[in-house]
């Protein structure tokens, strides 16, 4: 908590789930994030050199798989969280009584 100067900012919210890991292995977490960002960018820009055979027009476009993977997952999480959960979420003791 002391490391955060703004508890409601986007960065703070992204950091929150990592708090415990940051306390234990700050170096490893930082290395993981930096490594991940580098690999993600390298992969996305690899499409400038790698040709993907296209079947449906759009799937050969550079960066298609990166963007599609990201957007599909965001869409599925939002759909689960805000549509399905809205109707079907219950306490986990629901069937106990």
């Amino acid at each position: 908590m002391t490391t955060q100067n703004n508890d409601h900012g986007v960065v703070a919210r992204l950091r929150e789930p990592w708090r415990s890991m940051l306390d234990e292995r700050p170096g490893a977490v930082r290395a993981f994030w930096i490594g991940s960002v580098v690999v993600l960018l390298l992969l996305a820009f690899a499409d400038l050199f790698v040709h993907h055979h296209e079947h449906f027009g759009i799937d050969g476009a550079p960066g298609f798989y990166s963007l599609y993977g990201l957007l599909a997952c965001v869409a599925m999480v939002l759909f689960s969280k805000f549509v399905v959960a809205l109707f079907l979420k219950r306490k986990d003791t629901y069937y106990d009584d």
Binding site: S36, V39, H51, C73, M76, L78
Partner: protein
């Protein structure tokens, strides 16, 4: 020469196990699956073992069908891995039941007629129900009962379809209407479930199979029952029922268009439910549905490439799913906890369990150089080759979603996340050995995939390459898809925080709705009808007795005084009620 179904080694051997003492039964539990595996491979290519049934029918107990080699091999191998994992447990019934279950699955793959297939199919339901019950908790008792009920209903539906179809064939004068070749509905153009007379048989059979394949809304039994079994029980359960359904669908319904849609539904459903789930083994149970969705979709596409992909994926899936559940089972075994909210930080003291879990997670996500990569991509490729745009986009999104819900979510919440304060060591040696064995298989299959490709239903012609998974384009595109979906996970992590909740599924209908319907609606009606019965038969009898009382001294006219007030009231009420109903209708 093997002149009997190889699966019987497991089924009959299982019955011996309780008789030979602890050490003996442990030795048997490792030897029987290996014997079965050897026997599977010693069945000659032209095997045709038959038996008479009821005098009139000839059952074909052993024959090679196109996907038999893949499924019989992996089922035997799985029985071995599961037995190794279960070696240190003391539940006396679980392992024999699991072997009956596994052996029956092997027998299904060798069946050459629909009745043999069905008999072993039902024996699987018996064995697996007992495995669920072996969980030994009250919850597993109830879940096992629901599990058994659903499967026997599914079996009855399938049997009805088989009867309908075979009687039709008999009427047409077929000699042996049970032979599997008369049930290849996919090849003969059956596309959708329907009520027309010609469709009814195949429709009922397909419904029965889809129950076992865990297609929503028929499949909520899976996430209901599997996580209630014991650590080792769940490992066995994950392997056989749904994959035997995949095998049977492949035999009977290859190319049935409806399965493309069913598969897409399963793939997405599994992800959505897994995202919301808190119980680690239930997360993995939902991801079984997701993965089987890929296979079902491939079977619906029905080309040689798609069917090869579905079979290969079943093979790879059984290994990495068992591995994931072994990892989760080890955590449960050592901590007694199963909810993500109670777990976290186990990387400190369970490195073997963690690494094996991560390898399983990479394999289920189809990372390059793991088993999932060389199998699942054949299904996507067949969708692309067939220009099936929607299935391709849905399956690709689902591939990304797998990494999100199983590939990262499971390891993150169990082994990292927060420090739960739990510091359990890795599990006993046999559980570690089973995990390391299956983790090694996950990677070995991803690198040396040729032996698997060689036993697929449609092997490559001599000198030709069946499928080449490792092209630069394929590796790069798959890594992009997966790692960017991984980014989505970490960006959305605040939203994915686990809560103490469940998500209602179709099992709500028979767990809450039907009991509620009984309590609120049907029971009052039954009580009321009981009252009416009392009035009609008890009160009127009393009334009649009063009418005909032998000691009635007075004349017939005076008996009207003998009426009890209650009886008169009831009679009047009844007359008024009839009047009301009749009058109201007018």
């Amino acid at each position: 020469m093997i002149e009997f179904p190889p699966g019987l080694i497991l089924v009959l051997g299982a019955l011996l196990m309780p008789l030979v003492g602890r050490v003996g039964s442990r030795a048997l539990s490792l030897v029987l699956p290996l014997l079965t595996l050897a026997a599977v491979w010693m069945v000659p290519q032209d095997a045709h073992v038959t038996a008479q049934f009821l005098g009139a029918y000839e059952l074909v107990l052993v024959q090679w069908n196109a996907p038999t080699a893949v499924f019989a091999t992996i089922f035997s191998l799985m029985a071995f891995g599961g037995a190794l994992y279960a070696l240190n447990q003391d539940r006396r019934v679980e392992l024999p039941a699991a072997f009956v279950y596994a052996g029956s699955a092997v027998c299904v793959t060798f069946a050459g007629d629909i009745l043999t297939l069905f008999l072993f199919w039902e024996l699987m339901a018996v064995g697996s129900s007992i495995v669920v019950w072996s969980g030994g908790t009250e919850a597993s008792g109830r879940a096992g009962l629901r599990y058994a009920a659903v499967h026997f209903v599914g079996g009855a539906i399938m049997m009805a379809g088989i009867l309908y179809h075979s009687l039709g064939l008999t009427a047409l004068g077929f000699d042996n209407p049970l032979l599997l070749e008369y049930y290849r509905f996919g090849a003969s153009g059956f596309d959708w479930i329907g009520l027309a007379p010609a469709q009814l048989g195949p429709s009922l059979i397909l419904l029965g199979i889809l129950v076992n394949a865990a297609t929503p809304p028929l499949g909520s039994w899976l996430a209901d029952a599997y996580p209630e079994a014991s650590e080792s029980g769940t490992v066995f359960l994950s392997a056989f029922t749904t994959k035997t359904s995949v095998y049977v669908l492949m035999i009977l319904f290859a190319g049935t268009q409806m399965l493309i849609w069913a598969g897409m539904l399963m793939a997405v459903y599994g992800i959505v439910y897994a995202i919301l789930e808190n119980d680690m083994r239930r997360i993995l149970a939902y991801s079984i549905v997701n993965q089987v969705g890929f296979m079902v979709c491939g079977i619906g596409i029905g080309t040689e490439m798609a069917l090869n992909g579905a079979a290969a994926h079943a093979f790879a899936h059984i290994i990495y799913k068992a591995l994931l559940l072994m990892s989760a089972g080890s955590v449960l075994y050592m901590t007694g906890k199963r909810k993500c909210t109670d777990l976290g930080g186990l990387y400190h003291t369970m490195p073997v369990t963690m690494w094996c879990g991560i390898i399983g997670a990479l394999a289920i996500s189809s990372f390059p150089w793991t088993s999932g990569f060389v199998s699942k991509s054949m299904i996507s490729q067949s969708a692309a080759d067939g220009h099936l745009m929607l299935p391709w986009f849905v399956l690709t999104a689902a591939s990304a979603g797998v990494f999100l819900h199983a590939g990262i979510k499971f390891p993150w919440f169990v082994f990292f996340q927060k420090d739960s304060g739990l510091r359990p060591p890795d599990p006993p040696w046999n559980m570690k050995a089973a995990m390391i064995f299956f983790a090694a298989l996950c990677i070995a299959l991803g690198v040396f995939y040729q032996p698997l490709y060689a036993i697929l239903p449609f092997p490559a012609a001599a000198g030709e390459v069946l499928y080449e998974p490792y092209s630069v384009s394929h590796v790069v595109s798959q890594l992009q898809l997966l790692l960017w979906s991984g980014l989505a996970f970490f960006l959305l992590l605040p939203l994915l925080k686990r809560t103490l909740t469940i998500t209602l599924d179709a099992d709500w209908v028979y767990r809450t709705f039907f009991p509620g319907l009984w309590r609120v609606f049907l029971r009052p009606i039954a009580v009321f009808l009981g009252l009416v019965r009392d009035v009609l038969f008890e009160e009127t009898k009393r009334f009649a007795r009063a009418l005909t009382r032998a000691d009635a001294e007075v004349s017939r006219i005076s008996i009207f005084r003998e009426w009890s007030l209650g009886g008169a009231m009831v009679l009047i009420t009844f007359v008024l009620f009839v009047y009301l109903v009749v009058g109201f209708n007018n």
